[in-house]
Amino acid sequence: MSENEHFDNPLQQYRAHDHAHEHDHAHNGQHAHKQEEEPPEDPTLREYPLDLAAVRQKLQTKTGKQYWRTIEELADDPHFENFLHREFPRQASQWDDSVDRRDFLKLMAASLALAGLSGCGLNQERTNIIPYVKQPEGIVLGRPLFFATVMPFGGDALGLLVESHEGRPTKIEGNPDHPSSLGATDAFAQASVLNLYDPDRAQTPTFVGEIRTWEQFVAAAQAMGAAAKIDGSGGFRILTGIVTSPIVADQVQALLKLNPKAKWHQWEPAVADGTREGAKMAFGRYLNTVYHVDKADVILSLDADFLSNGPGHVRYMKEFYRRRKLDPMADRDGGEEMNRLYVVEPTPSVTGASADHRLPLKAADVGQFARALAGKLGLGGSGTISPAAEKWLNAAVGDLQKHRGSSLVVAGEHQPAEVHALAQAINAALGNVGKTLNYTEPVEANPVNHLESLRELCADMDAGRVDTLVIIGGNPVYDAPHDFDFLSKLKKVSNTVRLGTHFDETSEHCKWNIGESHFLEAWGDARAFDGTVSVIQPLIAPLYHTHSAYEVLAAFGDKPDVTGYDAVRARLQAGNSGADFEKFWRKTLNDGLVANSAFAPLSGVAAKFSAGSLPELKPAGTDELEFIFRPDPSTYDGRFANNGWLQELPKPVTKLTWDNAALVSPATAQKLALGHTVAARGGEHGQIISAVIDIALSGSKVTAAAWILPGQADGVVVLPLGYGRQKAGYTGTNKGFNAYAVRVSSALWTASGGTITKTSQEYPLACTQYHFNMEGRKILSTGTLEEYKKNPAFAREGDEQPPKSETLYKEFAYPGYAWGMAIDLNSCNGCNACVVACVAENNIAVVGKDQVMRGREMHWIRIDRYYKAETPTNDPSTDAGDALANPETFFQPVPCQQCENAPCEQVCPVGATVHSAEGLNDMVYNRCLGTRYCSNNCPYKVRRFNFLRFQDWETPQFKLQRNPEVSVRSRGVMEKCTYCVQRINNARIESEKQNRSIIDGEIVTACEAACPSEAIVFGNANDPNSRVSKLKAQQRNYSILGELNTRPRTTYLAAVRNPNSELERA
């Protein structure tokens, strides 16, 4: 991205001054461009946004054509066309009168409203250009603006820089200044921009299904509030998820002050109480734990997927993998020893895949393991574990003790409280506190035991003690423990108010429904995992009549007309009295966080509990099945069910899309006679037919597809949450099975006593990579640290890449830039952030389950998952399963390799794919004839073909999201990774205008930008000092299938594991 003007406030872009882009020459890459200027005084922010009736109507009638960059000049409505090609010149500065947001909204309104009208796209046809009447400043067409904001998620808030084209947020990047992001993002954050444009969103307040205005709601809310106050019986209840937002918390407290008996309940289905209660158990109070993964030499994870899940995981991932870059040059912390990770877990996780030693144990046995560990460290207590595990444990303990103060034990959030308590105790015993982890005040505004909180609410509702229930977000009807029978109890409440993104299972049974604004639409604030406060600043006025949690809560209070914007400012003002507030405010918005608002680490927090004191725990039965619930990697707790990007995203380990499945280990599968058959259509790259099983658990039943997962602990059945939605929207409804149906309060995360019966039915699953066997080919190169130290070039062993001289033809020279990419397999854990980032940046189409099953998904970068296991077969349901009981797992991101001797180019009959002078393997969509010969001839199979019209050219919302810098491919055209050539070109143009060459790091591809582990590095291979050249210079560097002499520009650094020699010998 060549320029990122970084404004305090998007709505203020109109008042930006000319130096807006004099500045952007200076900076490069990710770095936000700070800008000092007049304080924004935006009266309009307080105004109710202009009526979007027209827009809404248009949005509801999804007619119209694709208008963004299309290959063929497809018919577009001329007017609309011009809203896109609309020019946004800078205004001469003497004309400085405040422009209110109306213009902006009108632009939005008009562009949406006009989307549908049809026109003809003939060359002759007359089209119009529609300039502004009064020009909002700051916007320059074709120059994206970047704004800092945060995405609140669970007990965390991820710092973001959001790219905006003419007022449309199109792409999300990480905010380098923000502690939770450090510039990276995860798949959810990348995909969240699509939620904004989700056409199925709740769009207006309704009362028992009838459209109401916000004013009418406010009136009603006031009445309810007043009534509750008068009544005073405490019948007024608020149900939220985890709240880290200070203003929301304050608002709730304010309401509670008004109605002292009223209660605030919290329920977050996918975040366990274990963490909270564990802290309480250990310290007698709720505390927040912050890890310093980069400081830890040895890490033991007790079923903790801390690299891909839970607060701070993006940061932890960065910190963790910075300790696994084997090259001092690449290692920011200067060549420390590589860290070592031990993982004990019931089911393979992203974290487990990176482990140097991994031990599959039933979830319940993890508790035993923790106790045994504590015992070994002399903290008292003991656990019963298998001899094998014992040996494993001894090795781990030895290692931990060797690294007192530089080790770290992390308990999984789905483990019960005592495991967390034990972990705290163990860390204390190992002297890690204050070194590899700290304790701070809780990030949650009001930490409570969510299960108990919900239980209480349900009881009260049942007893008729609740007359007004305000449900903020969440989706309890869908995700509450099913023994609570939330629905029937909800029906007993007379006044129900719901704020929700969609009209979902819960909304259906609430009287008042308010559409919830996306975090890119409304003002707010949130705390990050370490307590850092950030302002959620909107980039766009709400597309529909939606509102934020704060606004809805405020409606019940005494100041219903105080907007989120005021509240946030007011709170910050209170926080920093005096000083130059406006300056502070601007800086806050600009940096995307309130300077040093992170909680100070608490000192002298000692675990006051002894492992011995824990009640005895009987080991889990060996042959009885254990069912565990986990948030799904794609839909999380179900909130992302309607997000096409995530639905089609192959889950990191299983590579399943569009469905969840009950995961079982190969051995268990054999016991239950479950198997896979590879379908004739699509086959290994698309469609696997799996057995359907009936699960009877906790007095309830659910039918699910079974999936055999190598590396899973025997006897464990994983039931991923977040699927089987009944009212999620067009994309998400009726996908997969609903694990909540068998989830009860007594066994929220780990359940036993269930049975599985195989049914006669079969179910086709869309799996993008079923073949995990490398067939002994030189595709992914791995080794151990010892091997690496002995022979750093082990990756090139037996590399038959012929010397450049061996050719009839003379080599082409690349005198200028030579773009290249290096991917460090040692840092990739398959988290998928890059895949979604690529989808968002390059307008990649979602094709749907049926097409994925035919092997036609469109992702430009795929992450291959291989098992390092000597198995002759590729079928986990056979005896080879033994080899697959606990295989080493490796991930390999594969984008277009940009071969210098590209096999694809030579066979294209029309020259639609040829080389650029900078060595890019150009794909010229508008020249492509669609013979698919190039794809056949591509050894890496990274090319993707538009077999049908995959792009959604009707839904106007999706048009708004698309990146105007990238052509939207039409049917019948081949496409593939271009190294984000649009970013390259923009950077080049900027540099050329200044007669300078492009600075290393000035161009960051979408995948590289998103990657939390810095596994992907792009740059100019001709510049010996560029990061990519340095990586390529490493001896671990090799190219896939080098012997084919395709000379890929994308090369890989071999994965190196750091196993414990003691366990090795064992």
């Binding site: 033809y809 003379k810 080599e811 082409f812 071969c899 210098e900 001797n901 590209a902 096999p903 694809c904 180019e905 030579q906 020259g911 040829v914 080389h915 650029s916 002078a917 000379r1047």
Partner: protein
């Protein structure tokens, strides 16, 4: 034959076997007739010699056509890949001549064949749907089936209808006819 005839094209005689025809043709030529031609339902070996026809020019044309096709073929490929729009295709050098051979070959064959066929037609002055000989009933019925005709044409210097007819009679040709023009 009826009156008010225009001038005639020639005198036509008819034979039953190729052998007879060849013999007759040879004799006629020896007799000094030059503008003579024979008509047979299939190519008859030795006939052209008997008629003293000179070698056909078709092979030469074919050669020219072939060369033309081949040269343009390669020339164009070279021009388009090296001169008109030089671009790096998969690291192959601009003039990847080995890859240009197949098309060159095909175009050679194409050129040659077109020249051969259309050359043949042109030299034969075809198409020629109308011809005086078609005025002769028996010619129409048998020339393309089972009879072999010899025609002494009026354009011959020593031609005279009566003599020609008589001459043919001596060669025991049947159904001797004067062919109206």
């Amino acid at each position: 034959m009826n009156e008010h005839r225009s001038q005639i094209f020639g005198v036509l005689g008819e034979f039953e076997t190729p052998k007879q025809l060849i013999r007759a043709a040879a004799k006629t030529r020896d007799a000094g007739y030059r503008e003579i031609n024979a008509y047979t339902p299939f190519p008859v070996e030795g006939l052209s010699e008997a008629l003293g026809l000179k070698k056909s020019a078709v092979p030469l044309l074919t050669l020219i056509g072939g060369l033309l096709g081949g040269l343009t073929g390669f020339g164009f490929q070279y021009w388009s890949a090296v001169i008109s729009y030089p671009i790096n295709v998969g690291g192959r050098s601009l003039n990847s001549w080995p890859a240009f051979i197949p098309v060159t070959f095909e175009l050679t064959v194409l050129g040659a064949s077109l020249f051969a066929v259309f050359g043949m037609l042109a030299l034969n002055k075809l198409p020629e749907p109308y011809h005086p000989l078609f005025n002769v009933e028996r010619f129409r019925q048998h020339a393309s089936n089972d009879r072999f005709f010899l025609c002494i044409e009026a354009s011959d210097p020593k031609f005279s209808a009566a003599d020609a007819a008589r001459f043919l009679k001596d060669l025991d040709a049947q159904n001797i006819t004067e062919v109206e023009d």
